[in-house]
Subunit: 74 residues, 6 copies
């Protein structure tokens, strides 16, 4: 895997949230490295309310980590 | 995505809870950016007890983050 | 939404647990604001072991937040 | 609800784990207060591997809280 | 229940991970104390990818607790 | 089980994320030690959007632990 994560620090909470999105997607990508297989899952993934809620849950967990790393941008 | 999150600080715990609601919804929105697709999921989403419970779970995780950012409003 | 949360401090751990119950219910209420729709879900909600376990999970997450806010009532 | 929780402190980690079990059950009890309805769910609850795993998950979350309250019994 | 947990301290992170495995299994055992019933669930449990993933999730939560108790073996 | 985890410290956040992946897989391996049985689950595992999301969730929880162990690489 190429370098994709060099720091958990971000300028703003919103950039931190977007980093949490990226971490969540990378968790999927390490599990299913095939771009094709991930694309095939995408329609089901993004239209099933249980799955989009689960995806938002993963983002929330990663956002906890990023927020702590940034001392909550205080 | 427009700017939507500039701080995790809020005046009161209730505003913090409402920010946690917003973070949870934005986690869904980044996963499914189409307003139309999200609206189509909404009836199922809000009437299935497993999903509303899962939604409350995501809010709880985000509320942990917001509460920590505000030193629990102590 | 009316004011319903002014502090995370409670006198006792049990009151803190009951506040965690309230936070969990409010997470559901913000997701499904209709009293009628929530009442319609209630029978299924409270008799399905997977859902009552999930509900207890949400309470546990919120209780972590409330306990931290109260310095674990030490 | 009668008084059932006066402190998160325990003498040993095992007692702390058992308190986490109790907190998890009380989360279910507040959701479904009927003893009869909870008894009716019990057979399904305790023989479905997905649900016993979910129950163990709730205990793990509550054990985090109890362990922190006891400074991890260090 | 016999004594099975006297400390959260371990010599190494790997022993800590193995303690997290044990805590996860004990969470199941307190929920379903019958050795026979747990054995009956085992084949389904260990061959269903959703359940093994859920089991790994419980281990991860318990490992957070054990790692904190050991100051992350720093 | 052979020695596989001697430290939670890593040089970079990305190596920390990859350690979180490893911890997540080891949680599965301790649950289902048979290489053959894990291989049999793999196709279903990696093509079901609910499961890959759940897998990413486990990684997120383990990444919290690893990030804390490394003081968030600050």
């Amino acid at each position: 895997m190429d370098q994709w994560l060099t720091s958990l620090r971000t300028q703003t909470p919103q950039e931190g949230f977007e980093l949490a999105i990226k971490l969540s997607r990378m968790g999927v990508k390490y599990t299913q490295p095939s771009d094709e297989a991930r694309a095939a899952m995408r329609p089901e993934y993004a239209e099933d309310p249980a799955i989009v809620t689960a995806a938002s849950h993963v983002v929330a967990v990663n956002f906890q980590t990023v927020a702590a790393a940034n001392d909550w941008w205080r």
